[in-house]
Protein backbone atom coordinates (compact mmCIF):
# COMPACT_ATOMS: atom_id res chain seq x y z
CA UNK A 1 0.00 0.00 0.00
CA UNK A 2 1.07 3.59 -0.50
CA UNK A 3 3.80 2.73 -3.01
CA UNK A 4 2.64 5.44 -5.39
CA UNK A 5 1.53 7.93 -2.82
CA UNK A 6 2.90 11.44 -2.84
CA UNK A 7 3.92 11.07 0.80
CA UNK A 8 5.74 7.99 2.12
CA UNK A 9 4.31 6.12 5.09
CA UNK A 10 6.99 7.66 7.31
CA UNK A 11 5.40 11.05 6.67
CA UNK A 12 2.09 9.81 8.07
CA UNK A 13 3.78 8.12 11.00
CA UNK A 14 5.42 11.40 11.89
CA UNK A 15 2.01 13.12 11.72
CA UNK A 16 0.48 10.45 13.96
CA UNK A 17 3.29 10.98 16.43
CA UNK A 18 2.47 14.68 16.56
CA UNK A 19 -1.20 13.85 17.10
CA UNK A 20 -0.40 11.44 19.92
CA UNK A 21 1.85 14.06 21.51
CA UNK A 22 -0.97 16.59 21.30
CA UNK A 23 -3.42 14.04 22.73
CA UNK A 24 -1.13 13.37 25.65
CA UNK A 25 -0.73 17.08 26.27
CA UNK A 26 -4.51 17.43 26.47
CA UNK A 27 -5.15 14.24 28.36
CA UNK A 28 -7.08 12.49 25.59
CA UNK A 29 -7.02 8.71 25.33
CA UNK A 30 -9.24 8.65 22.26
CA UNK A 31 -9.70 11.00 19.33
CA UNK A 32 -12.22 10.74 16.50
CA UNK A 33 -11.79 12.93 13.42
CA UNK A 34 -14.69 13.24 10.97
CA UNK A 35 -14.27 14.03 7.31
CA UNK A 36 -16.62 14.54 4.41
CA UNK A 37 -15.40 13.98 0.92
CA UNK A 38 -15.62 14.86 -2.72
CA UNK A 39 -17.81 17.76 -3.83
CA UNK A 40 -17.63 19.28 -0.42
CA UNK A 41 -14.13 19.91 0.81
CA UNK A 42 -14.99 20.66 4.37
CA UNK A 43 -12.53 18.79 6.50
CA UNK A 44 -11.87 16.17 3.88
CA UNK A 45 -8.43 17.58 4.45
CA UNK A 46 -8.18 16.24 7.97
CA UNK A 47 -8.84 12.65 6.98
CA UNK A 48 -6.56 13.06 4.01
CA UNK A 49 -3.79 14.51 6.12
CA UNK A 50 -4.06 11.66 8.61
CA UNK A 51 -4.56 8.67 6.31
CA UNK A 52 -4.43 9.77 2.66
CA UNK A 53 -8.03 8.60 2.30
CA UNK A 54 -10.28 10.63 0.01
CA UNK A 55 -13.92 9.62 -0.07
CA UNK A 56 -15.31 9.64 -3.59
CA UNK A 57 -18.93 10.39 -2.68
CA UNK A 58 -20.59 13.69 -3.42
CA UNK A 59 -20.68 14.85 0.15
CA UNK A 60 -24.22 16.05 -0.49
CA UNK A 61 -26.36 12.96 -0.11
CA UNK A 62 -29.76 13.27 1.44
CA UNK A 63 -29.62 12.65 5.11
CA UNK A 64 -31.91 9.77 6.01
CA UNK A 65 -32.75 7.60 8.92
CA UNK A 66 -29.17 6.39 9.14
CA UNK A 67 -29.84 3.13 7.36
CA UNK A 68 -28.07 4.44 4.30
CA UNK A 69 -26.70 7.57 5.82
CA UNK A 70 -23.24 8.95 6.24
CA UNK A 71 -22.23 7.45 2.91
CA UNK A 72 -19.71 10.12 2.16
CA UNK A 73 -18.33 10.45 5.64
CA UNK A 74 -15.34 8.78 7.16
CA UNK A 75 -13.76 8.90 10.57
CA UNK A 76 -10.25 8.39 11.85
CA UNK A 77 -9.96 6.92 15.33
CA UNK A 78 -6.85 7.29 17.47
CA UNK A 79 -6.64 5.09 20.54
CA UNK A 80 -4.10 3.50 22.80
CA UNK A 81 -1.12 4.84 20.87
CA UNK A 82 -1.95 2.58 17.94
CA UNK A 83 -1.70 3.54 14.30
CA UNK A 84 -5.03 5.26 13.61
CA UNK A 85 -8.03 3.31 12.41
CA UNK A 86 -9.88 4.47 9.33
CA UNK A 87 -13.64 3.88 9.50
CA UNK A 88 -15.67 4.22 6.34
CA UNK A 89 -19.10 3.26 5.03
CA UNK A 90 -18.07 2.47 1.50
CA UNK A 91 -17.62 -1.17 0.52
CA UNK A 92 -14.25 -1.98 -1.02
CA UNK A 93 -15.67 -2.40 -4.50
CA UNK A 94 -16.80 1.22 -4.43
CA UNK A 95 -13.72 3.10 -3.40
CA UNK A 96 -9.97 2.88 -3.59
CA UNK A 97 -8.60 1.97 -0.21
CA UNK A 98 -5.23 0.90 -1.55
CA UNK A 99 -3.84 4.41 -1.18
CA UNK A 100 -4.96 4.82 2.40
CA UNK A 101 -2.29 4.77 5.07
CA UNK A 102 -3.57 3.67 8.45
CA UNK A 103 -3.50 1.00 11.10
CA UNK A 104 -6.81 -0.80 10.80
CA UNK A 105 -9.30 -0.23 8.02
CA UNK A 106 -12.90 -0.93 8.96
CA UNK A 107 -15.96 -0.76 6.73
CA UNK A 108 -19.41 -0.31 8.23
CA UNK A 109 -22.53 -1.37 6.38
CA UNK A 110 -25.03 0.03 5.94
CA UNK A 111 -24.09 2.99 8.10
CA UNK A 112 -21.11 4.41 9.91
CA UNK A 113 -23.48 5.96 12.41
CA UNK A 114 -24.89 2.68 13.66
CA UNK A 115 -21.70 0.77 13.03
CA UNK A 116 -19.33 2.87 15.10
CA UNK A 117 -21.34 2.51 18.32
CA UNK A 118 -21.31 -1.25 17.97
CA UNK A 119 -17.60 -1.17 17.26
CA UNK A 120 -16.97 1.02 20.29
CA UNK A 121 -18.97 -1.32 22.49
CA UNK A 122 -17.22 -4.42 21.22
CA UNK A 123 -13.81 -2.83 21.71
CA UNK A 124 -14.50 -1.39 25.13
CA UNK A 125 -14.16 2.23 24.09
CA UNK A 126 -15.77 4.43 26.69
CA UNK A 127 -15.31 7.62 28.66
CA UNK A 128 -13.91 10.77 27.09
CA UNK A 129 -13.48 10.76 23.34
CA UNK A 130 -12.24 13.97 21.77
CA UNK A 131 -13.90 14.75 18.47
CA UNK A 132 -12.88 16.96 15.55
CA UNK A 133 -15.59 17.52 12.97
CA UNK A 134 -18.67 18.61 14.86
CA UNK A 135 -19.03 21.12 12.07
CA UNK A 136 -18.97 18.34 9.48
CA UNK A 137 -21.28 15.67 10.82
CA UNK A 138 -24.95 16.57 10.25
CA UNK A 139 -27.09 16.94 13.35
CA UNK A 140 -29.27 13.98 12.42
CA UNK A 141 -26.28 11.67 12.47
CA UNK A 142 -24.66 13.27 15.44
CA UNK A 143 -27.77 12.95 17.59
CA UNK A 144 -28.13 9.33 16.58
CA UNK A 145 -24.48 8.59 17.27
CA UNK A 146 -24.68 10.18 20.69
CA UNK A 147 -27.87 8.33 21.57
CA UNK A 148 -26.20 5.04 20.71
CA UNK A 149 -23.05 5.73 22.72
CA UNK A 150 -24.19 6.51 26.25
CA UNK A 151 -20.88 5.19 27.57
CA UNK A 152 -18.96 7.93 25.78
CA UNK A 153 -18.43 11.53 26.79
CA UNK A 154 -17.87 13.37 23.53
CA UNK A 155 -15.44 16.25 23.94
CA UNK A 156 -15.55 18.73 21.07
CA UNK A 157 -12.11 20.07 20.19
CA UNK A 158 -12.47 21.48 16.70
CA UNK A 159 -9.09 23.21 16.63
CA UNK A 160 -7.18 20.24 17.99
CA UNK A 161 -5.34 19.36 14.78
CA UNK A 162 -4.05 22.85 14.12
CA UNK A 163 -1.05 22.37 16.36
CA UNK A 164 0.09 19.05 14.82
CA UNK A 165 -0.44 20.59 11.38
CA UNK A 166 1.17 23.94 12.08
CA UNK A 167 4.73 23.34 10.87
CA UNK A 168 4.93 21.73 7.44
CA UNK A 169 7.33 18.90 6.75
CA UNK A 170 9.85 19.23 3.94
CA UNK A 171 7.63 17.12 1.68
CA UNK A 172 4.60 19.22 2.56
CA UNK A 173 6.58 22.33 1.73
CA UNK A 174 7.30 20.80 -1.67
CA UNK A 175 3.58 20.19 -2.14
CA UNK A 176 2.88 23.80 -1.30
CA UNK A 177 5.54 24.98 -3.76
CA UNK A 178 3.88 22.94 -6.46
CA UNK A 179 0.49 24.35 -5.48
CA UNK A 180 1.95 27.84 -5.55
CA UNK A 181 3.42 27.30 -8.99
CA UNK A 182 0.07 26.02 -10.28
CA UNK A 183 -1.84 29.03 -8.98
CA UNK A 184 0.84 31.47 -10.14
CA UNK A 185 0.27 30.41 -13.74
CA UNK A 186 -3.47 29.93 -13.40
CA UNK A 187 -4.18 33.30 -11.82
CA UNK A 188 -1.99 35.04 -14.39
CA UNK A 189 -3.97 33.39 -17.18
CA UNK A 190 -7.27 34.54 -15.70
CA UNK A 191 -6.03 38.07 -15.06
CA UNK A 192 -4.61 38.36 -18.56
CA UNK A 193 -8.05 37.44 -19.91
CA UNK A 194 -9.82 40.03 -17.77
CA UNK A 195 -7.29 42.73 -18.67
CA UNK A 196 -7.84 41.85 -22.33
CA UNK A 197 -11.57 42.40 -21.88
CA UNK A 198 -12.69 38.79 -22.09
CA UNK A 199 -15.72 37.67 -20.11
CA UNK A 200 -15.48 36.59 -16.48
CA UNK A 201 -16.46 33.08 -17.57
CA UNK A 202 -13.68 32.98 -20.15
CA UNK A 203 -11.18 34.19 -17.55
CA UNK A 204 -12.34 31.52 -15.12
CA UNK A 205 -12.10 28.86 -17.82
CA UNK A 206 -8.53 29.86 -18.64
CA UNK A 207 -7.70 29.76 -14.95
CA UNK A 208 -9.28 26.33 -14.52
CA UNK A 209 -7.45 25.00 -17.55
CA UNK A 210 -4.09 26.02 -16.15
CA UNK A 211 -4.88 24.44 -12.80
CA UNK A 212 -6.19 21.20 -14.25
CA UNK A 213 -3.58 20.68 -16.92
CA UNK A 214 -0.97 20.85 -14.16
CA UNK A 215 -2.77 18.22 -12.13
CA UNK A 216 -4.29 20.66 -9.69
CA UNK A 217 -7.73 20.99 -8.21
CA UNK A 218 -9.88 23.88 -7.06
CA UNK A 219 -13.03 24.63 -5.17
CA UNK A 220 -13.90 28.02 -6.63
CA UNK A 221 -12.60 30.53 -9.15
CA UNK A 222 -13.86 34.09 -8.81
CA UNK A 223 -13.48 36.44 -11.75
CA UNK A 224 -15.40 39.71 -11.79
CA UNK A 225 -15.19 43.36 -12.65
CA UNK A 226 -16.64 46.85 -12.42
CA UNK A 227 -19.19 47.90 -9.83
CA UNK A 228 -19.72 44.35 -8.63
CA UNK A 229 -16.03 44.00 -7.88
CA UNK A 230 -16.10 47.22 -5.89
CA UNK A 231 -19.03 46.14 -3.78
CA UNK A 232 -18.29 42.45 -3.30
CA UNK A 233 -15.08 40.70 -2.47
CA UNK A 234 -15.79 37.68 -4.64
CA UNK A 235 -17.55 37.13 -7.96
CA UNK A 236 -20.98 35.83 -8.87
CA UNK A 237 -22.40 34.33 -5.71
CA UNK A 238 -23.36 31.03 -7.31
CA UNK A 239 -20.53 30.33 -9.73
CA UNK A 240 -17.88 32.93 -9.11
CA UNK A 241 -18.13 34.21 -12.70
CA UNK A 242 -20.68 35.09 -15.36
CA UNK A 243 -20.65 35.76 -19.07
CA UNK A 244 -20.33 39.53 -18.80
CA UNK A 245 -17.19 41.26 -20.01
CA UNK A 246 -15.37 44.20 -18.38
CA UNK A 247 -15.15 47.52 -20.13
CA UNK A 248 -11.81 49.18 -20.69
CA UNK A 249 -10.93 51.05 -17.49
CA UNK A 250 -12.97 48.76 -15.19
CA UNK A 251 -11.19 47.35 -12.21
CA UNK A 252 -11.06 43.55 -12.50
CA UNK A 253 -10.28 41.00 -9.84
CA UNK A 254 -9.47 37.31 -9.82
CA UNK A 255 -9.28 34.86 -6.96
CA UNK A 256 -8.64 31.14 -6.70
CA UNK A 257 -9.61 28.99 -3.75
CA UNK A 258 -9.23 25.33 -3.21
CA UNK A 259 -7.21 22.26 -2.34
CA UNK A 260 -4.82 23.04 -5.16
CA UNK A 261 -2.36 20.18 -4.86
CA UNK A 262 -2.45 17.04 -2.70
CA UNK A 263 -5.27 18.63 -0.74
CA UNK A 264 -3.26 21.68 0.30
CA UNK A 265 -5.30 24.81 0.16
CA UNK A 266 -4.27 28.14 -1.32
CA UNK A 267 -6.32 31.24 -2.05
CA UNK A 268 -4.26 33.79 -3.98
CA UNK A 269 -5.82 36.83 -5.61
CA UNK A 270 -5.01 39.82 -7.79
CA UNK A 271 -6.63 43.06 -8.95
CA UNK A 272 -5.95 44.93 -12.17
CA UNK A 273 -7.60 47.29 -14.63
CA UNK A 274 -9.13 46.18 -17.92
CA UNK A 275 -6.94 47.55 -20.70
CA UNK A 276 -3.95 47.79 -18.40
CA UNK A 277 -4.03 51.57 -17.94
CA UNK A 278 -5.16 52.43 -14.41
CA UNK A 279 -6.17 55.93 -13.50
CA UNK A 280 -4.24 57.73 -10.79
CA UNK A 281 -6.92 56.84 -8.25
CA UNK A 282 -6.99 53.24 -9.31
CA UNK A 283 -3.21 52.98 -9.20
CA UNK A 284 -3.27 54.43 -5.68
CA UNK A 285 -5.37 51.63 -4.24
CA UNK A 286 -3.63 48.98 -6.36
CA UNK A 287 -0.29 50.12 -4.98
CA UNK A 288 -1.71 50.43 -1.50
CA UNK A 289 -2.80 46.81 -1.25
CA UNK A 290 0.43 45.67 -2.89
CA UNK A 291 2.65 47.68 -0.57
CA UNK A 292 0.86 46.37 2.51
CA UNK A 293 1.46 42.80 1.42
CA UNK A 294 5.05 43.49 0.39
CA UNK A 295 5.84 45.16 3.71
CA UNK A 296 4.44 42.23 5.65
CA UNK A 297 6.21 39.64 3.50
CA UNK A 298 9.51 41.46 3.85
CA UNK A 299 9.15 41.23 7.63
CA UNK A 300 8.23 37.54 7.87
CA UNK A 301 10.94 35.48 9.48
CA UNK A 302 11.20 33.06 12.38
CA UNK A 303 10.48 34.80 15.64
CA UNK A 304 8.23 37.52 14.30
CA UNK A 305 4.68 37.46 15.61
CA UNK A 306 1.40 38.05 13.80
CA UNK A 307 0.82 41.08 16.01
CA UNK A 308 4.10 42.63 14.85
CA UNK A 309 3.21 41.91 11.23
CA UNK A 310 -0.19 43.48 11.74
CA UNK A 311 1.43 46.67 12.97
CA UNK A 312 3.86 46.71 10.03
CA UNK A 313 0.99 46.23 7.58
CA UNK A 314 -1.01 48.99 9.22
CA UNK A 315 1.94 51.36 8.96
CA UNK A 316 2.21 50.67 5.23
CA UNK A 317 -1.54 50.99 4.78
CA UNK A 318 -1.72 54.37 6.47
CA UNK A 319 0.34 55.86 3.65
CA UNK A 320 -2.54 55.03 1.31
CA UNK A 321 -5.69 54.89 3.42
CA UNK A 322 -7.76 57.86 4.58
CA UNK A 323 -9.61 60.53 2.59
CA UNK A 324 -12.42 58.08 1.90
CA UNK A 325 -10.11 55.17 1.18
CA UNK A 326 -10.81 52.28 3.49
CA UNK A 327 -8.55 49.46 4.43
CA UNK A 328 -11.10 46.74 4.97
CA UNK A 329 -11.57 43.22 6.28
CA UNK A 330 -9.75 43.49 9.57
CA UNK A 331 -7.06 40.94 8.83
CA UNK A 332 -3.81 40.92 6.91
CA UNK A 333 -3.49 37.17 6.63
CA UNK A 334 -3.90 33.75 8.13
CA UNK A 335 -2.29 30.35 8.30
CA UNK A 336 -2.86 27.64 5.73
CA UNK A 337 -2.91 23.88 5.58
CA UNK A 338 -5.47 21.49 4.16
CA UNK A 339 -7.91 24.33 4.76
CA UNK A 340 -7.75 27.91 5.96
CA UNK A 341 -5.94 28.18 9.24
CA UNK A 342 -8.02 30.29 11.57
CA UNK A 343 -5.15 32.05 13.31
CA UNK A 344 -4.82 35.46 11.76
CA UNK A 345 -2.46 38.34 11.15
CA UNK A 346 -4.54 41.19 12.55
CA UNK A 347 -4.91 44.40 10.56
CA UNK A 348 -3.04 46.55 13.03
CA UNK A 349 -2.30 45.91 16.67
CA UNK A 350 -5.59 44.85 18.22
CA UNK A 351 -4.51 45.63 21.78
CA UNK A 352 -4.42 43.38 24.79
CA UNK A 353 -5.71 39.84 24.35
CA UNK A 354 -7.72 40.16 27.53
CA UNK A 355 -9.59 43.11 26.05
CA UNK A 356 -10.30 41.19 22.85
CA UNK A 357 -11.67 38.33 24.90
CA UNK A 358 -13.90 40.68 26.80
CA UNK A 359 -15.20 42.19 23.60
CA UNK A 360 -16.30 38.82 22.32
CA UNK A 361 -20.04 38.59 22.48
CA UNK A 362 -20.50 42.15 23.64
CA UNK A 363 -20.51 44.06 20.40
CA UNK A 364 -22.56 43.92 17.25
CA UNK A 365 -19.31 43.47 15.37
CA UNK A 366 -18.66 40.00 16.69
CA UNK A 367 -15.08 38.94 17.32
CA UNK A 368 -13.90 35.36 17.39
CA UNK A 369 -11.33 35.50 20.12
CA UNK A 370 -9.72 32.22 19.14
CA UNK A 371 -8.59 33.75 15.85
CA UNK A 372 -6.44 36.10 17.90
CA UNK A 373 -5.13 33.72 20.51
CA UNK A 374 -1.86 33.03 18.64
CA UNK A 375 -1.02 36.58 17.62
CA UNK A 376 1.85 36.71 20.08
CA UNK A 377 3.21 33.30 19.13
CA UNK A 378 6.35 33.61 16.97
CA UNK A 379 6.41 32.02 13.57
CA UNK A 380 8.70 29.06 12.95
CA UNK A 381 10.42 27.75 9.84
CA UNK A 382 8.04 25.55 7.87
CA UNK A 383 4.84 27.48 8.55
CA UNK A 384 2.70 28.53 5.61
CA UNK A 385 1.31 32.05 5.82
CA UNK A 386 -1.24 33.80 3.63
CA UNK A 387 -0.79 37.57 3.39
CA UNK A 388 -3.62 39.71 2.08
CA UNK A 389 -4.81 43.29 1.87
CA UNK A 390 -7.82 45.09 0.45
CA UNK A 391 -8.27 48.79 -0.19
CA UNK A 392 -11.55 50.35 -1.23
CA UNK A 393 -12.16 53.80 -2.73
CA UNK A 394 -15.88 54.37 -3.34
CA UNK A 395 -16.53 55.16 -6.96
CA UNK A 396 -13.05 54.02 -7.95
CA UNK A 397 -13.03 50.39 -6.96
CA UNK A 398 -11.64 47.87 -4.54
CA UNK A 399 -8.18 46.44 -4.91
CA UNK A 400 -7.31 43.14 -3.28
CA UNK A 401 -4.26 40.98 -3.25
CA UNK A 402 -3.22 37.76 -1.57
CA UNK A 403 -0.01 35.77 -1.64
CA UNK A 404 1.43 32.84 0.24
CA UNK A 405 4.83 32.39 1.81
CA UNK A 406 6.73 29.64 3.56
CA UNK A 407 8.66 30.69 6.62
CA UNK A 408 12.31 29.71 6.16
CA UNK A 409 15.13 29.66 8.69
CA UNK A 410 16.18 33.21 7.91
CA UNK A 411 13.17 34.81 6.24
CA UNK A 412 10.45 33.55 3.95
CA UNK A 413 9.94 32.14 0.49
CA UNK A 414 7.05 33.46 -1.59
CA UNK A 415 5.37 30.54 -3.33
CA UNK A 416 2.69 32.45 -5.28
CA UNK A 417 4.24 34.80 -7.77
CA UNK A 418 1.56 36.05 -10.12
CA UNK A 419 2.65 39.50 -11.39
CA UNK A 420 1.36 42.67 -9.81
CA UNK A 421 -0.77 44.66 -12.20
CA UNK A 422 0.09 48.24 -11.40
Amino acid sequence: MAANNYFPREEYEARWQRVWDAMRAKGYDHLLVWSRGAGSYDRLGNGLWLTNFANNGTGQDWADDVQMGAWTFSAVLFRDGRAPELHSAQPPQETEYAKAVCGELIVHEPSLITGLPEYFRKHGIEGRVAVVGDDVLPGLYDRRLRSLTPQIEWVTDEWFLLEPQRVKSKREQEAFRTAGDITTHALAAGMDALIAGETSAEAAARTAMEIMRRGGCFSRIDMHHGAHAERFLLGDMLCGYDTSAPKKGDMVRGWIQGPIFQGYWLDPGRTAVCGGRPTKEQRHILEGATEVCKAIIRAIRPGVTPRQLGAIGEQAALRYAGDGIDLNLGIFGHQMGTFYGPHIIPAGDPGALEDIKEEQGTSANEIMFKEYEKIDEPYEPGMLIAVEAFMKHPGVGMSGLEDHVLVTKDGCEQITNTPFYL
Binding site: E94, E109, E118
Partner: protein
Protein backbone atom coordinates in the same frame (compact mmCIF):
# COMPACT_ATOMS: atom_id res chain seq x y z
CA UNK B 1 -51.42 -19.90 16.31
CA UNK B 2 -50.77 -20.27 19.98
CA UNK B 3 -47.52 -22.04 20.70
CA UNK B 4 -45.94 -23.07 23.92
CA UNK B 5 -42.26 -23.21 24.52
CA UNK B 6 -42.04 -26.98 24.25
CA UNK B 7 -43.70 -27.00 20.86
CA UNK B 8 -41.60 -24.05 19.74
CA UNK B 9 -38.35 -25.78 20.61
CA UNK B 10 -39.44 -29.16 19.34
CA UNK B 11 -40.25 -27.85 15.89
CA UNK B 12 -36.87 -26.28 15.76
CA UNK B 13 -35.00 -29.44 16.65
CA UNK B 14 -37.04 -31.71 14.40
CA UNK B 15 -36.94 -29.31 11.56
CA UNK B 16 -33.24 -29.06 11.89
CA UNK B 17 -33.28 -25.46 10.85
CA UNK B 18 -32.26 -23.40 13.73
CA UNK B 19 -30.66 -22.40 16.89
CA UNK B 20 -33.01 -21.86 19.79
CA UNK B 21 -32.39 -19.52 22.63
CA UNK B 22 -34.44 -21.20 25.37
CA UNK B 23 -35.76 -21.93 27.87
CA UNK B 24 -35.95 -18.55 29.39
CA UNK B 25 -39.17 -18.98 31.29
CA UNK B 26 -41.52 -21.72 32.27
CA UNK B 27 -43.94 -22.42 29.51
CA UNK B 28 -47.01 -20.27 29.30
CA UNK B 29 -46.04 -17.98 32.12
CA UNK B 30 -47.86 -14.71 32.17
CA UNK B 31 -46.26 -11.39 33.10
CA UNK B 32 -47.33 -7.85 33.39
CA UNK B 33 -46.30 -5.46 30.65
CA UNK B 34 -47.35 -4.71 27.11
CA UNK B 35 -50.46 -6.15 25.58
CA UNK B 36 -49.90 -9.70 24.39
CA UNK B 37 -49.09 -10.15 20.77
CA UNK B 38 -51.69 -11.20 18.29
CA UNK B 39 -50.96 -14.42 16.50
CA UNK B 40 -51.60 -12.77 13.14
CA UNK B 41 -49.40 -9.77 13.79
CA UNK B 42 -47.34 -8.77 10.75
CA UNK B 43 -43.65 -9.53 10.89
CA UNK B 44 -41.27 -7.03 12.36
CA UNK B 45 -38.73 -5.81 9.89
CA UNK B 46 -35.20 -5.68 11.23
CA UNK B 47 -32.12 -4.69 9.32
CA UNK B 48 -28.77 -6.31 9.22
CA UNK B 49 -25.71 -4.24 9.92
CA UNK B 50 -22.08 -5.21 10.00
CA UNK B 51 -18.56 -4.00 10.13
CA UNK B 52 -15.52 -5.76 8.82
CA UNK B 53 -11.84 -5.17 8.48
CA UNK B 54 -9.96 -4.84 5.27
CA UNK B 55 -6.27 -5.34 4.95
CA UNK B 56 -4.48 -2.11 5.73
CA UNK B 57 -1.82 -3.20 3.27
CA UNK B 58 -3.90 -3.32 0.12
CA UNK B 59 -7.46 -2.44 1.11
CA UNK B 60 -8.68 -5.91 0.19
CA UNK B 61 -10.65 -8.45 2.16
CA UNK B 62 -8.48 -11.41 3.05
CA UNK B 63 -10.96 -13.17 5.24
CA UNK B 64 -9.27 -15.30 7.78
CA UNK B 65 -7.42 -12.89 9.97
CA UNK B 66 -9.86 -10.01 9.86
CA UNK B 67 -12.56 -9.19 12.31
CA UNK B 68 -16.04 -9.39 10.87
CA UNK B 69 -19.08 -8.70 12.99
CA UNK B 70 -22.70 -8.56 12.00
CA UNK B 71 -25.80 -7.85 14.03
CA UNK B 72 -29.53 -7.50 13.84
CA UNK B 73 -31.42 -5.31 16.27
CA UNK B 74 -35.10 -5.96 16.81
CA UNK B 75 -37.59 -3.54 18.27
CA UNK B 76 -40.59 -5.36 19.73
CA UNK B 77 -42.45 -2.06 20.02
CA UNK B 78 -42.84 -2.40 23.78
CA UNK B 79 -41.27 -4.36 26.60
CA UNK B 80 -42.51 -7.93 26.15
CA UNK B 81 -41.77 -11.31 27.64
CA UNK B 82 -39.19 -13.24 25.69
CA UNK B 83 -39.65 -16.96 26.12
CA UNK B 84 -37.49 -18.31 23.34
CA UNK B 85 -35.79 -17.27 20.15
CA UNK B 86 -35.39 -19.31 17.01
CA UNK B 87 -33.19 -18.43 14.07
CA UNK B 88 -34.00 -19.55 10.57
CA UNK B 89 -31.15 -19.44 8.11
CA UNK B 90 -31.49 -18.75 4.44
CA UNK B 91 -30.54 -22.32 3.72
CA UNK B 92 -29.68 -25.39 5.71
CA UNK B 93 -26.68 -27.57 5.84
CA UNK B 94 -23.02 -26.97 5.76
CA UNK B 95 -21.80 -23.86 4.10
CA UNK B 96 -18.69 -24.54 2.05
CA UNK B 97 -15.72 -22.63 3.25
CA UNK B 98 -17.36 -21.67 6.49
CA UNK B 99 -14.66 -21.62 9.12
CA UNK B 100 -14.87 -21.91 12.84
CA UNK B 101 -15.25 -20.52 15.33
CA UNK B 102 -18.47 -18.63 15.08
CA UNK B 103 -19.60 -16.65 18.04
CA UNK B 104 -23.23 -15.75 18.66
CA UNK B 105 -24.40 -13.22 21.18
CA UNK B 106 -28.00 -12.42 21.94
CA UNK B 107 -28.65 -9.52 24.27
CA UNK B 108 -31.80 -7.70 25.25
CA UNK B 109 -32.46 -4.26 26.63
CA UNK B 110 -35.10 -1.63 27.11
CA UNK B 111 -32.60 0.95 25.83
CA UNK B 112 -32.17 1.21 22.05
CA UNK B 113 -28.54 2.12 22.64
CA UNK B 114 -28.11 -1.01 24.80
CA UNK B 115 -26.46 1.14 27.43
CA UNK B 116 -27.81 -1.31 29.99
CA UNK B 117 -28.38 -4.71 28.57
CA UNK B 118 -28.97 -8.23 29.65
CA UNK B 119 -27.05 -10.97 27.90
CA UNK B 120 -29.23 -13.92 26.92
CA UNK B 121 -26.66 -16.09 25.30
CA UNK B 122 -23.03 -16.12 24.28
CA UNK B 123 -22.47 -19.21 22.25
CA UNK B 124 -19.44 -20.38 20.34
CA UNK B 125 -19.57 -23.16 17.82
CA UNK B 126 -16.46 -25.21 17.31
CA UNK B 127 -17.78 -26.10 13.92
CA UNK B 128 -21.02 -25.68 12.10
CA UNK B 129 -21.42 -28.99 10.41
CA UNK B 130 -24.79 -29.58 12.00
CA UNK B 131 -26.19 -26.54 13.66
CA UNK B 132 -29.51 -28.26 14.24
CA UNK B 133 -28.00 -30.37 16.99
CA UNK B 134 -26.46 -27.43 18.72
CA UNK B 135 -29.24 -26.15 20.84
CA UNK B 136 -27.87 -23.57 23.17
CA UNK B 137 -28.97 -23.82 26.78
CA UNK B 138 -29.34 -20.80 28.95
CA UNK B 139 -29.91 -20.15 32.61
CA UNK B 140 -33.53 -20.03 33.57
CA UNK B 141 -34.17 -16.41 34.06
CA UNK B 142 -37.20 -14.24 33.59
CA UNK B 143 -36.65 -11.76 30.76
CA UNK B 144 -38.78 -8.89 29.59
CA UNK B 145 -37.36 -6.43 27.11
CA UNK B 146 -38.21 -4.27 24.16
CA UNK B 147 -35.04 -4.63 22.14
CA UNK B 148 -33.19 -7.76 21.12
CA UNK B 149 -29.83 -7.73 19.43
CA UNK B 150 -28.37 -10.75 17.78
CA UNK B 151 -24.71 -10.44 16.93
CA UNK B 152 -22.38 -12.91 15.33
CA UNK B 153 -18.73 -12.86 14.49
CA UNK B 154 -16.54 -15.30 12.69
CA UNK B 155 -13.22 -15.47 11.01
CA UNK B 156 -14.80 -16.16 7.70
CA UNK B 157 -18.48 -15.50 7.57
CA UNK B 158 -19.24 -14.00 4.24
CA UNK B 159 -22.57 -15.52 3.35
CA UNK B 160 -22.46 -17.94 6.25
CA UNK B 161 -25.88 -19.51 6.77
CA UNK B 162 -26.04 -19.15 10.52
CA UNK B 163 -24.71 -15.65 10.73
CA UNK B 164 -26.88 -12.59 10.59
CA UNK B 165 -26.02 -12.10 6.96
CA UNK B 166 -27.48 -15.53 6.28
CA UNK B 167 -30.60 -15.18 8.38
CA UNK B 168 -33.97 -15.33 6.71
CA UNK B 169 -36.12 -14.91 9.80
CA UNK B 170 -35.85 -14.74 13.52
CA UNK B 171 -38.81 -16.02 15.52
CA UNK B 172 -39.49 -14.88 19.02
CA UNK B 173 -41.86 -16.71 21.31
CA UNK B 174 -43.56 -14.14 23.47
CA UNK B 175 -46.50 -14.91 25.73
CA UNK B 176 -47.49 -17.92 23.74
CA UNK B 177 -47.35 -16.22 20.36
CA UNK B 178 -44.63 -16.66 17.80
CA UNK B 179 -43.54 -13.34 16.45
CA UNK B 180 -41.69 -13.47 13.13
CA UNK B 181 -38.97 -11.00 12.35
CA UNK B 182 -37.95 -10.53 8.73
CA UNK B 183 -34.30 -9.72 8.34
CA UNK B 184 -33.68 -7.15 5.67
CA UNK B 185 -30.26 -7.17 4.14
CA UNK B 186 -29.03 -4.03 2.49
CA UNK B 187 -27.68 -4.38 -0.95
CA UNK B 188 -24.58 -2.65 0.28
CA UNK B 189 -23.90 1.03 0.15
CA UNK B 190 -23.03 1.18 -3.50
CA UNK B 191 -26.66 1.85 -4.36
CA UNK B 192 -26.12 5.34 -3.13
CA UNK B 193 -24.27 7.24 -5.78
CA UNK B 194 -24.66 10.41 -7.70
Amino acid sequence: MHTNRRQFIARSAIGGLGLVAAPLLPSGSARAGALPLRADAPPIIASLARYYRLSSQDGERHGEQHEDFGWVQIDLGAARPIDAIRLRPVETGVVPGHRSPVHFCIDCSDDPAFGEMQPLVSWRAEHLADPANRLARFPRKAVTARYIRLGASAENLFGGALLPSGLATIEILSGGVTMPVAVRRWQANHRRRG
